[in-house]
């Protein structure tokens, strides 16, 4: 029948070249895909760190300034309120005016704009802490304005510098650098301040406190409810339609877009029940509903992993069902449940979208004190800052992202360690 000159074996051997090449190609595609994923990960982290590492350094102007009691109009017996009202801003302006002698109003304005509004506050706090400084010369590191900060950290010596700095300003700055006045120091304000319109004064403490309070509410609600639900579904629930319905519900909720939980929070918690907007309380409630499915699902897996022999032994000793569950099964399943809870909390920590709906995007300067104070959370702060036009905010956004990722890595490592240490293999 076959009129080809090749035998089957030869045909197969000939095709093997092609087939082996295909095999190699396929394998390479696979490897490339994994590498692509890892590359994205590295690229993402690299980009964020590259942009954000400089957020942790702040440019300051080191100078020796005379705290002129006469200019400020206060004496050593002045109380805190009088010191707060004194014109430290004027003092600083006068000091720098005497130093660089700007010509005309335009130059003066340029000079003053190089020092942050926070510098006056710095002096004020120093004097409140130690009123004996009045009349003395004080050597301080005054916070520079964000444009100076960006110029000093990034643009100096590059081509694209003076798009924000005028030539006069650059001239003064170069002078200060020659006199060793301009330096960078660790950006403490970034960690102790709340939000601000001025990039050099904006910090993440308010957002971190808000995040902490929100997660506290979430944990206090979702852990007990999640564990209880997992126990019920795994140990007590009869196998019927209702249980099946509840299970399907939980599985679906785990995959519902998070933004719909925000709609629920807005329409029900805020509009019907009148819970105050923008508070960690309402944020925590919404995140509770969002993380519950995760906690329930992992909790059930942990309970399922406890071998039946434990239950049977306890039953054999005369324990009731409830005693078996609470005295024997639950303690053994708890590490697994905690791991799931930490992962759920990490999810809640990074969640942004539903919190936008319930007003946590408000501009909040004060650090929240309790769960019913207006506040924002770290991811929302990142969202807000990323929208700001100032270049310095981009750096701070990346810095805040690094802090957020730091928290996430810590939580996930804790979960993994907990699992390794406490989980038993049966």
């Amino acid at each position: 029948m076959t009129n080809t000159s090749l035998s089957t074996r030869e045909k197969v051997e000939k095709s093997m070249v092609r087939r082996r090449a295909a095999e190699k190609r396929f394998r390479t595609y696979g490897m490339a895909s994994v590498l692509f994923g890892l590359l994205c990960l590295v690229g993402l982290f690299g980009d964020i760190i590259n942009k954000g590492a400089s957020a942790f350094r702040q440019t300051v102007i080191q100078t020796e300034i005379l705290i002129d009691a006469d200019f400020l109009g206060i004496n050593k017996k002045a109380d805190d309120q009088e010191i707060r009202n004194a014109d430290f801003e004027g003092l600083i302006k006068q000091h720098f005016k005497a130093m660089v002698q700007p010509q005309g109003r335009g130059e003066r304005r340029q000079l003053y704009s190089m020092i942050s509004a926070g510098a006056a506050w710095q002096l004020q706090e120093a004097v409140i802490a130690d009123p004996s400084l009045l009349g003395k010369k004080l050597s301080v590191n005054l916070i520079a304005d964000d444009d100076v900060d960006q110029w000093f950290k990034h643009d100096r010596g590059t081509e694209l510098h003076n798009n924000r700095m005028s030539e006069t300003q650059v001239k003064w700055l170069e002078q200060w650098i020659d006199q060793d006045m301009l330096k960078t120091q660790f950006n403490t304000l970034f960690f102790v301040n709340g939000d601000s319109r001025e990039p050099e004064l904006a910090g993440i403490r308010g957002a971190i406190t808000g995040t902490f309070l929100t997660l506290l509410v979430t944990f206090l609600l979702s852990f007990p409810i999640g564990v209880a639900a997992a126990i019920y579904l795994e140990e007590f629930a009869p196998r019927n339609k209702i249980t099946e319905f509840v299970e399907i519900n939980i599985n679906n909720l785990a995959a519902v877009p998070s933004i719909t939980f925000g709609l629920l929070g807005l329409a029900i918690f805020i509009n019907i029940f009148g819970v105050a907007r923008s508070t960690p309380l309402v944020g925590g409630l919404v995140l509770t509903l969002m993380t519950l499915p995760t906690i329930i699902i992992s909790g059930r897996a942990a309970i399922k992993a406890v071998p039946p022999s434990i239950r049977e032994a306890a039953f054999g000793l005369g324990a009731s069902k409830m005693q078996v569950v609470f005295h024997h099964v639950l303690p053994l399943a708890l590490p697994g449940m905690l791991t799931g809870t930490i992962i759920g909390m990490a999810q809640a920590l990074g969640e942004t979208a539903p919190l936008l709906m319930i007003g946590m995007v408000a501009f909040v300067v004060d650090v929240p004190g309790f769960i019913n104070d207006p506040s924002t959370v770290l991811p929302v702060q990142i969202f807000l800052w990323s929208d700001s036009p100032e270049r310095a905010f981009m750096e701070r956004t990346s810095g805040a992202i690094m802090v957020l990722l730091g928290f996430l890595v810590t939580m996930n490592t804790a979960a993994v360690m907990l699992r390794r240490r406490l989980e038993r293999r049966w």
């Binding site: 087939r19 295909a22 095999e23 396929f26 394998r27 696979g30 895909s33 994994v34 994923g37 890892l38 994205c40 990960l41 993402l44 980009d47 964020i48 409810i225 639900a229 579904l233 007590f236 399907i248 519900n249 939980i250 599985n251 909720l253 995959a255 519902v256 877009p257 933004i259 719909t260 939980f261 709609l263 629920l264 807005l266 329409a267 029900i268 019907i272 029940f273 009148g274 819970v275 509903l289 519950l292 499915p293 329930i296 409830m322 990490a346 920590l349 990074g350 969640e351 979208a353 936008l356 709906m357 929302v380 990142i382 969202f383 929208d387 981009m394 990346s398 957020l404 996430l408 996930n412």
Partner: protein, 457 residues
């Protein structure tokens, strides 16, 4: 007393009740009578009856107080305001609240009776509910104290209460689903009273800017959501274009080719991608990827919008890779080894086995995984909110700016809203569509995956 101190008071009473109940049971036992249950069960029973009713009351009260007070206040408002629109009433009510706490709003004499009424109400309710909560707790102690006898079945009762509590906890998930449905359905229903569903689903212009005042001229707002659906679809499509091949090939490589060591490190590393907050991806897309794409496109002579669908879609695709890869990995691993061995026995190479045997056998599961990933892409909010635009263009060009359902929900609802304007309600109508679509996708996908898993178990 405020809520936190009331809760603490109830908790202290609860602790006391536990000790009291236990000691009473012990006292009975020491008289030589045989108790039905352990003394701790009597204590627990007393604690439950002391704690539960007051805490439940507190919860209901806390939820109902604000709406009830507002309702009572409306009666105290001047006639003129009561006749006005519901937004006027809302405004007046919030003014009254602000005046009552004395925040610096200039006094409005016409609201004076309402303000006085509010302060009086607040004082009265505070006294009333503190009294009710505490007396309920004490009542619980007293009643249970009287019921504790040697033959009382404390354990049975405690266990049935605890069982009910456990059941109630598992019901929270159902309540959540109902809550989501009720909130979006109700507001969407009101929206469809103002805008016809037909226009919403099939209209092709989306400009939700409604005139702020009734007498203002200008746009009346049009709510054709087709551009949003198209934008969502376009971005999701770009995302899946990245995520499906990469995720699937990565899963195949990791489960079929990689050595255990590579697998041990590469798999969790890829899963980190799923754990990164979406706001971080959004930032990355808007500030790093979008400018790069724009420059690349412009160097090729294309006009690229700085908020192109491509940038958002690409980054979303990266985010979704681990969803596809880890779910596909599971289903590929579930394919029995015997199928592979049979294929090798017939002389197939590894890649031929994967393509001809493993993938077809795992296909339902892989389809399920992809559907879950699509649902994730459709519902993703932050990446698109930060990297995609607001312009509702109806286009298939990935270099253009498009907007999505989730972006519009966020923009319509962030900031102050009036709850009777179609602009706000439109967000809920969009939410309804989003919820139903993702629910359907998830439901089918979970069914498929589950059914598939059972097939080889």
């Amino acid at each position: 007393m405020n809520y936190s101190s009331l809760i603490i008071a109830v908790l202290i009473l609860l602790g006391g009740a536990y000790l009291l109940g236990r000691n009473r049971a012990r006292a009975i036992a020491s008289q030589g009578m045989r108790l039905h249950s352990l003394p701790t069960h009597y204590g627990a029973l007393m604690a439950l009856w002391t704690g539960l009713p007051p805490l439940l009351l507190l919860l209901i009260w806390g939820l109902a107080e604000a709406p009830v007070i507002d309702h009572l206040l409306i009666a105290q408002l001047p006639e003129a305001i009561q006749q006005g629109s519901s937004s006027d009433i809302q405004l007046a009510i919030s003014k009254v609240h602000n005046l009552a706490i004395g925040s610096g709003i200039s006094a409005a004499p016409e609201l004076e009776p309402a303000v006085r009424h509010l302060i009086e109400l607040q004082e009265r309710t505070l006294l009333l509910h503190s009294g009710m909560v505490l007396s309920l707790a004490l009542l619980g102690i007293a009643l249970t104290w009287r019921r504790i006898k040697a033959d009382m079945r404390a354990r049975t009762e405690v266990e049935s209460i605890v069982r009910r509590l456990l059941f109630a906890s598992s019901g929270v998930a159902v309540l959540t689903t109902l809550g989501i449905l009720a909130s979006v359905l109700y507001e969407a229903w009101q929206f469809f009273g103002k805008v016809s569903p037909f226009e919403f689903l099939f209209g092709t212009t989306w400009s939700p800017q409604v005139a702020l005042r009734a007498d203002q001229s200008g746009s009346s707002g049009s709510f054709g959501a087709v551009p949003l659906f198209a934008g969502t679809l376009l971005i999701s499509l770009i995302a899946m274009f990245i995520a499906v091949p990469v995720g699937l090939m990565a899963a195949i490589y990791l489960s079929e080719y990689a050595t255990p060591t590579i697998r041990q490190y590469a798999k969790p590393a890829l899963e980190i991608l799923a754990g990164i907050p979406t706001v971080v991806y959004g930032f990355f897309a808007a500030l790093t990827v979008a400018p790069v794409i724009r420059e690349l496109g412009e160097s090729m002579g294309l006009t690229v919008s700085s908020e192109s669908a491509l940038a958002a879609g690409l980054v979303m695709g990266i985010m979704i890779i681990p969803f596809v890869s880890s779910l596909s990995d599971d289903v590929i691993n579930a394919v029995p080894q015997s199928l592979r061995d049979g294929s090798y026995g017939l002389g197939a190479t590894k890649s031929e086995t994967v393509k001809e045997v493993v993938i077809p056998a795992a296909l339902p599961g892989i389809v399920g995984a992809i559907m879950l990933a699509v649902s994730r892409a459709i519902g993703e909010t932050m990446i698109v909110a930060m990297a995609a635009g607001l312009a509702a263009n109806l286009t298939a060009n990935p270099l253009d700016s498009v907007t999505t359902v989730t972006v519009q929900i966020v923009t319509l609802l962030v900031g102050d809203q009036e709850f009777d304007s179609p602009k706000t309600l439109a967000a809920f109508a969009l939410g309804l569509v989003l919820f139903l679509v993702t629910l359907a996708l998830n439901f089918v996908a979970l069914k498929v995956v589950q059914k598939y898993r059972e097939q080889y178990d």
